[in-house]
Symmetry: C2
Subunit: 279 residues, 2 copies
Amino acid sequence: METRELRYFVAVAEELHFGRAAERLGIAQPPLSRAIRALERRLGSPLLERTTRAVALTEAGSVLLTEGRTALDAVDAAERRTRRTAHTGPGVVLVAKAGASQELLTKLLAAYAAEPDAVAVDVELCGPGEQERLLRDGRADVGLLHRPFDSTAGFDTEDLHTEGQSLFLPAGHPLSTRTELRMADIEALPDLPLPRWPAADGTYPDGPGPQVRDTAQLRQLVALGRTAAVLPDSARVDLHDDVTAVALVDAPPVTTLLAWPPQSRSRAVADLVRVAARA
Amino acid sequence: METRELRYFVAVAEELHFGRAAERLGIAQPPLSRAIRALERRLGSPLLERTTRAVALTEAGSVLLTEGRTALDAVDAAERRTRRTAHTGPGVVLVAKAGASQELLTKLLAAYAAEPDAVAVDVELCGPGEQERLLRDGRADVGLLHRPFDSTAGFDTEDLHTEGQSLFLPAGHPLSTRTELRMADIEALPDLPLPRWPAADGTYPDGPGPQVRDTAQLRQLVALGRTAAVLPDSARVDLHDDVTAVALVDAPPVTTLLAWPPQSRSRAVADLVRVAARA
DNA sequence: GTCGATCGATACCGCGGGGGTATGAATGAG
DNA sequence: CTCATTCATACCCCCGCGGTATCGATCGAC
């Protein structure tokens, strides 16, 4: 099966509309229809149920959509990592969530830079949930993730640090004088609705809280008295006096870890992991 | 990048010889040379160093070989799983090492078959180390693996059972009267050299022991007094009186587990895992 | 019921590019 | 120096991908 065919199929399967899919692919609709037909003929079974009014996935089509996406990501990864190796020489791209684990990341980078044959580390910051995609399609080589928020399925991992979580409140809020809180306490926070994070497709769920993209933005909104945030304890390190943190004793613990695609156990990534595990 | 280009490159990178690679691909040598050149031009950097006498991988080429293999496996997996879904309907292929964990596997299959919406489970037996390949290229959907022998990199896993190991000896061997042994004891077994398992490429390492492909074959060789074997305790269940097992108190424990590609969390695989975890 | 809009399928054409054969050029063995 | 080996180049053919024009089926409006 050729990459082109897969891209065509995935486009149609996602749009469920030949015209729109063709537009997205930058080709005309007839060759797209033909390509899908040819693919179905070669696989020996229909992938889509078409009427003139609607297109739907068959069972087999649904499998090909899932598997095809990961296959396309793998092909993209091969191309991207090759290009990077060729042009910028050896080097790793590390991806982390903007504003998270600042301190740990700083230490890690410093410790790795001191290694005998350290290579350049390009740090890429992104929104929550985007890291897995970057690791999968080759835009990044290693990621700083947080369990249980990020999925580590399909990656090799090394746990670095586990910690509890705290509630971050505007200074002066009634709850900010408490020494500890429970999850049940924040259920009842009508004045401070919890923020809404974007889903994988970039859309925001409905709800009363403000929309946020990263931790820096969130911190600002907390300081402005617009929301409260549940974050790992380590976020306390760069608190100003406009935000107060109170320990949440029954919040699930958060583990910070390194994750990387299992086949790309390059020398550089291995060194990085070894240094991180030691610290 | 197209699948065809990747296949061509991987063939050349593995053979390090354009002529042989072309033969393997079933095309003539000139188009292959041209295809690789075109690929290098598009990626903007050489992948191979050629002289008229030798071909070698560049740094970038080495990356593309590794990443390209996994990408090709992913594409093959997409095609195979789609074909299977289309032709044999829903169903899973479970792969296990021949002769290993018989009892657990039997129980698992029976328990799953009793589930309300169980689908057909096709059991595929193979040699050690082959399972990962089958899972990666889509010939299997879920595997019964053994840590630390099998690598679980890149798979989701569910541990089922952990046990110690024993030394399996021909009945009547001097050591067979002992109640327990240590690893150091088998270093000194000149009369019974340990067997040699095939490497990933199917070749056998050098050494004095007999070559074996699976556990059944190994058991027979032990019974014949040709070798001794270190195997998980559960291999005792179908011992005849021609083989004796003695516990190895300091052997690393073996964990039997289910592994599956993270994206193929189909209903059937999920059920199978749930049933297995319960038992 | 008729008409029109929508949308996928078909027919047909042109051309780029992938594959073939023949041959050249470079290099190392003897 | 000669020859064998091996990758690159030259040239040709034709398959197949993509384009435009059009058809045919289906559904909604009235």
